[in-house]
C-alpha cells in the first residue's frame, strides 16, 4: 500500500486548497449560500477548469479518467472549504451512473458537458415514505408507445433545483423493475420545488404528473435501475466520507485556534488539560474518519458485493459518528460563541450533521452492514 499522493494528486490538492482558501472564506461562503441562488456558476466553471468535474469522466468523453483515490484527494479539500456546489451529486454520483450504466448516446450527450461544467445532474430517488431506502420507491413508469409516462413524487433530491436534468427512479408498470430515467428539468408535467436544508444547501421535491420521456431516457435496461442507483450512491458515500474528513480536519484547526486565542482565568483555554484532551478525542475521531474514507475508496474497486457494502456502509457509520463528536465538541469548546450564527464553527457543525444523514443515516447503514456481514 502507498498512501502518498502522486505528483498530480498533490498538485491538484494544493491548487484546490489555494482555491478554497481564497474563494470560500467565511464571508464569501455566507454571501453565496444566502444569496438565494442554488449555486454559483462562476465557481462551477472554476471547478471544471481545475479538473474536478471531469475527474472520473473517461478520457474519450473529455475527462481525466481518474479512479477513487483521486476522488478522495479532491473531496478532502472541498470538505475543508465547505464548498457549496453540487459536486457530489453531479460530478460523482450521476457521472458514475452514466459512465457505468449509460448508453453510448447518453454518455456522449452528457459526460463531456458534465466534465466541462456546462451541465449539472442530480439524483431523485427518495420519496416521502421511503426513508433512506432507494428500493422502496413507488413512483410509476407506464409504457406508452416507444417511451414512458412518469407519475409520482420524489423528495429531498440533493441539489435537485440546480440540475439541468435528474436521474429519477420509477417502478415500471407490469414488472418489478425499478428503472432509472434521465429526465430534463423543463419537460412538461414536472414541477420542482426547492428549499434550504439544515446545512444551508438546497434540496428539491419533484412532482411528476404524466411526464413523457422517450425510451432512450432509461439508464441501461429497465431492470438495472436499482443497481445503477446503488452504484451512484456508493460513489457518493465515498466522496462524502472524504469531504467529512476534510471538514473535521478544518474544524479541529478552527477550534484549536479559538482555544489558543481565548483567555479565561488568566490563561489561554488551550492550556486547560480537560480541553486539550477533548481536542485529542476529536483528533482521534477525525483520523478514524479519514481512515474510513480510504476504506470507502477501496470499497469502490471491490468486486465482491458483500465486501463492498461492508466497506462503504462501515465507512459511512464510522464517519457519521466521528462527525457528530467533532461537530458537537467544536461547538461546546467555542462556548456561547459556538451557539451563534456569527462564526464558521456553526457552518461546519451543521454541514457535518447533514453529512451524518445524507445517503443514508447510521442505522440504515448498520442494517446494510449486518446483512452483508451475514452473507
Amino acid at each position: 500500500m502507498d498512501f502518498t499522493y502522486s505528483e498530480e494528486q498533490q498538485m491538484l490538492a494544493d491548487s484546490l486548497r489555494r482555491f478554497v482558501d481564497t474563494e470560500y472564506t467565511f464571508t464569501q461562503r455566507r454571501n453565496s449560500a444566502r444569496g438565494g441562488g442554488s449555486f454559483d456558476r462562476r465557481m462551477w466553471s472554476a471547478l471544471a477548469e481545475m479538473g474536478v468535474l471531469g475527474l472520473t469522466v473517461p478520457p474519450e468523453f473529455g475527462g481525466f479518467g481518474q479512479g477513487a483515490a483521486s476522488q478522495l484527494v479532491v473531496h478532502r479539500e472541498l470538505g475543508r472549504g465547505l464548498v457549496l456546489e453540487p459536486v457530489i451529486p453531479s460530478a460523482v454520483m450521476a457521472t458514475a451512473v452514466l459512465a457505468a450504466y449509460g448508453s453510448k448516446a447518453q454518455q456522449q450527450a452528457w459526460l463531456p458537458a458534465l466534465a466541462a461544467g456546462e451541465r449539472v445532474l442530480a439524483l431523485a430517488y427518495l420519496e416521502p415514505a421511503t426513508r433512506y431506502r432507494p428500493e422502496a420507491a413507488r413512483a410509476s413508469a407506464e409504457r406508452r408507445g416507444d417511451g414512458y409516462v412518469l407519475n409520482g413524487i420524489k423528495s429531498l433530491a440533493w441539489h435537485g433545483a440546480a440540475a439541468d436534468a435528474l436521474l429519477v427512479s420509477a417502478r415500471v408498470a407490469g414488472s418489478n423493475d425499478l428503472a432509472l430515467f434521465l429526465v430534463p428539468r423543463d419537460v412538461p408535467g414536472l414541477t420542482i420545488g426547492a428549499y434550504p436544508t439544515m446545512d444551508g444547501l438546497h434540496a428539491a421535491d419533484l412532482t411528476l404528473s404524466n411526464v413523457p420521456v422517450g425510451g432512450d431516457a432509461v439508464i441501461g435496461q429497465p431492470a438495472d435501475g436499482l443497481a445503477a442507483l446503488e452504484h451512484g450512491i456508493d460513489h457518493g458515500i465515498a466522496a462524502l466520507c472524504a469531504e467529512a474528513a476534510g471538514a473535521m480536519d478544518k474544524l479541529i484547526a478552527i477550534t484549536g485556534e479559538y482555544l489558543r486565542n481565548r483567555h479565561q482565568f488568566g490563561k489561554p483555554l488551550a492550556s486547560f488539560q480537560a480541553l486539550q484532551h477533548r481536542m485529542a478525542d476529536m483528533l482521534v475521531q477525525a483520523e478514524l474518519a479519514l481512515s474510513m474514507a480510504y476504506v470507502a475508496a477501496q470499497g469502490l474497486t471491490e468486486s465482491d458485493l458483500a465486501a463492498r457494502r461492508r466497506m462503504l456502509s462501515g465507512a459511512k457509520v464510522v464517519v457519521a459518528r466521528a462527525g457528530r463528536l467533532v461537530g458537537q465538541q467544536a461547538v461546546q469548546l467555542h462556548g456561547g460563541m459556538g451557539m451563534t450564527d456569527e462564526l464558521e464553527v456553526g457552518d461546519y457543525f451543521k454541514r457535518l450533521a447533514m453529512m451524518d444523514v445524507l445517503l443514508g443515516d447510521s442505522d440504515y447503514h448498520l442494517g446494510r452492514y449486518c446483512v452483508a456481514m451475514a452473507a
Partner: protein, 398 residues
Amino acid sequence: MDLRFTAAEQGFREEVRAFAQDRLPADIRDKVLGHRRLGKDDYVRWHRILHAHGWGAPAWPKQFGGTGWTAMQRLIFEIETFRAGAPRLLSFGLTMIAPVLMKYGSPEQQARFLPRIPGMEDFWCQGYSEPGSGSDLASLKTRAERRGDRYIVNGQKIWTTMAQYADWIFCLVRTDPDARQQEGISMLLIDMKSPGITVRPIVTLDGSHDVNETWFENVAVPVANLVGEENRGWTYAKYLLGHERTGIAGIGHCHRELRQLKHYASQATDGAGRPMSEDVRMRDKIARLEMDLMALEMLLLRAITQDGGRGPGPEASIIKIRGSELQQDIAMLQMEVAGPHAWPFAPQWLDAGSVQPVSGPDWAAPAAATYFDMRKTTIYGGATEVQKNIIAKMILGF
C-alpha cells in the same frame, strides 16, 4: 424510606394536571408541542393565568406571595405543566433575582420589585457574562463608578436572554477595580429604559433571536438600586447561580420530549411500511433514553428532598450535567426518527402559522433546529466543564 409518592402528592399532581388541561391556551400549547417559536406575549399570558390562580411564583415562600410549595410539589408542577404543553416559567425574575432580593435586598427593594414579578408586570433579564468573561465570570469588567447618589455604568454584557423584551436587568458590575477579582463586584438593578443602554440581537444556530449583546454607556443608576452591600456582589451571584442550576435540569422538558419522541416514532415509517417504533435499533435507543430519564428523575428527587427539602448543594451540578445531556440526546433522536424529513430547514418555518413547502410531517420540520438549539444546554448556566470543576472541588474535595 418510603419510595412512593404520598396521597397528597398524588392529589396535587391531579390538581395541576386538571388545571393545565383546562387553562392553558390552545395556541400556546400548539406552539410548544409543535416546537414553534414563542413570543413575549405567550410567556406573559401563561404567567398571568398562573398568577391569577395564585400559582405565579411556585418557588417562593408564602410571605412574599408565593405558593409555599415543597420542592416535591414544584417538581410535580413542572412535570405536569410541561406535559400539557405549557411554556417554561421564565427564570430571570422568579428564580434568579427574586431569591437574591428575598435574602439580600432592602425592604424597599423587596416591596418595589417582588410583587411585580409573578404577574410579569416587570420583565427581567440577566447581565452576567461579558465577551471576555464567560466561564471565568469573576473577571468581568463592566465598570460602575459612584458619583453622589448614582452609579455611572460603562461596559458590555453578552447572552442577555430576552433583553429585547426586558424592563429591568440585574447586573454584575465592578465597583472596586483594585480589589481581588471576586471582591470588587457589586450587583445593580438597572432600568432597561435608562439612557445609554443599547441592545443588539445575536442570532443563534437555529436562526432564532433570544440572546443579545447589551451595551452600557454612562448609564446612571440610583444607589438605591444596589443589592445588599457594595463589593459583595459575588456572594449574591453565586447564591443566584445555585438556584439556576437545579432549574435547568429540564426534567419536565425531558418527560415531555421523550413522550413526543415516542409519538414521532409511531408516526414515522422505516421505508418498508413499519413504524419506526417497531424498528429494533430505534427502539433500543428510545428505551435507553427512558432509562436515563428514570435515573435523572430519581437523582433529582434524592437531591431536592435532602436536608428537609432545602434543596441541593453542589449535587445540583450532577443534575445540571445529566439533565442538559439528556435534553440534547432526546432532541438528537427526534431528528433521527424524522429521518430525511428533518433535512429541510428554514428558520421562518419556526414561526407559528408559517407554511412549509415540503412534503414531510409538520412535527419533523423543526427537528434540526431543535437539535441545533439544544446544544446550548451544556453551555449555559455554567458549562459542563464548570460543573465538573465544581464536582471535583466541592464533592470530591480535590
